[in-house]
């Protein structure tokens, strides 16, 4: 797998590339500054991460969705699977796009670490949530053969988890419970989410191999 291919994949996105960048580097900081001004730096801490959780994990699936539109639904996409037999597996692209996104996210957390403690724990939780969305998307796009429907399913899942208050949504939600300490969330929920994400990724690899 050649990294130059991913460069062209990103280039082909044009303006779509900048949506996650704008959210990470413009929307989240502006939101954070606003909250700090209203509630003060200490109280705003938890609220900022609670808000960021709504946008950062789901956005990890954005680039993959639009890049893989060519791989799944593009006219002549079979060329991307038969030119090189080993190139049939797209797991490397998925991981690279995920890491590229995490690199962007880590800059925001790095800046946040200047103002708050316990940032590392929040960062680990966010990385696991991002990986959950990425691996779920990988599995869904090669199962449903539609990037749009796959992204919509993830979006509906997020809306259900965040805004419907019920036993089931609490159980299936990957997001932190209000009032639970971050270290407790990582020690229990995040580990389960990580395990499920790995299972989804493996299913994605299996479905990817059988795509053609």
């Amino acid at each position: 797998m050649d990294v130059r291919l991913i460069y062209y994949d990103f280039k082909n996105l044009k303006v779509y590339y900048f949506i996650p960048v704008l959210i990470i580097f413009l929307f989240i900081p502006v939101l954070s500054i606003g909250m700090v001004k209203i509630y003060g730096i200490e109280i705003a801490h938890i609220m900022i991460f609670r808000e960021a959780e709504k946008y950062i994990p789901i956005m990890s699936a954005w680039w993959t969705t639009f890049i893989f539109r060519e791989y799944i639904e593009g006219d002549g996409n079979e060329l991307l699977y038969c030119v090189n037999k080993r190139g049939k597996l797209k797991a490397f692209q998925i991981v690279f796009i995920f890491l590229w996104y995490i690199l962007h996210v880590s800059i925001v957390f790095l800046v946040g670490s200047i103002f708050w403690n316990n940032i590392l724990a929040e960062f680990i939780k966010t990385v696991i949530q991002c990986f959950f969305f990425t691996s779920s998307l990988y599995m869904l796009i090669y199962t449903l053969k539609s990037t749009t429907i796959s992204f919509m399913i993830l979006l509906i899942y997020e809306l259900f988890s965040l805004f419907i208050n019920s036993e089931i949504t609490h159980f299936i939600s990957i997001f932190g419970d209000n009032g639970t300490l971050i270290m407790n969330i990582i020690g229990s929920k995040s580990l389960v989410v990580l395990f499920i994400s790995i299972v989804f990724f493996v299913i994605g690899v299996y479905k990817n191999k059988r795509f053609y």
């Binding site: 280039k11 044009k14 006219d75 699977y81 038969c82 090189n84």
Partner: protein, 246 residues
């Protein structure tokens, strides 16, 4: 050079290819058959996209499965081509150069040569989304001939093209055919009757006949216009007689 022996391919319970055996040498071959005959499935097996159920496909005596020499010697234009529309023609071809593992130093020359061959050199820096349907198809041909492959496979190359583009395609064929095996899959007889050295007729997943245009025509003698008629059967007449088993 390129050989298919006793090939079977099914999708679940649907047997698409049944005991297909073919042998190819350099030249232009036309793969002719009605829609649903199994042409695209056969082509996808040939380019190592599908795993086959039974049989073997060999290139220079070696199975094509995980055969790097074969993969670097094959060019393929699928039925539809329109990937990476936001890239320029140059970037699009560069993408395929990287996929085909063409040497970095040779890439620029390869791209320029291929664009010249398909008469698109003046569009090198144009976005694919700004090109017409015919131009995108020609870009697809350029992609297929990148790296000077010895085998080039075109799947329905003229579908949706206007007469001018069809003539242009035939001109490109005559330019690139030297020392190569070119396989053209189509259901349009006129696309291949003049340009192909051999015609393979397929229907219902089987090869019904393989021969020159003259041999295909001969299948219709006495069956279309009658024994005493002065009208001579065409390739299309022969093709219809073969697939209808008249």
């Amino acid at each position: 050079m390129f050989e298919i022996s006793n090939l079977y391919k099914s999708f679940k319970k649907n047997q698409v290819l049944k005991d297909v055996s073919l042998s190819f040498e350099n030249g232009i071959y036309g793969l002719l058959g009605p829609n649903g005959a199994g042409k695209t499935t056969l082509i996808r097996c040939m380019v190592n996209l599908y795993d086959i159920n039974k049989g073997v496909i060999k290139f220079n005596g070696l199975s094509i499965d995980n055969n790097d020499e074969f993969l670097s010697n094959i060019g393929y234009l699928p039925q539809k081509f329109g990937l990476f529309k936001e890239l320029t023609a140059y970037e699009n071809l560069k993408y395929f150069c990287i996929l085909k593992k063409i040497n970095k130093d040779r890439m620029d020359d390869e791209i320029k040569d291929c664009l010249k061959a398909v008469n698109l050199e003046d569009r090198i820096n144009h976005k694919v989304s700004t090109l017409s349907g015919g131009m995108i198809r020609r870009l697809g041909i350029a992609q297929a001939i990148l790296g000077k492959p010895r085998i080039i496979i075109f799947d329905e190359p003229t579908a949706g093209l206007d007469p001018e583009e069809r003539i242009r395609f035939k001109n490109i064929l005559t330019q690139i055919k030297k020392d190569r095996l070119i396989i053209i899959s189509t259901h349009i007889v006129e696309d291949i009757e003049a340009s192909c050295d051999r015609i393979i007729i397929m229907n219902d997943g089987r090869v019904l006949k393989s021969g020159s245009a003259k041999e295909i025509k001969s299948a219709a003698i006495g069956k279309v216009y009658g024994e005493k008629s002065k009208l001579k059967p065409t390739v299309e007449d022969g093709y219809m007689c073969i697939i209808k088993r008249i």
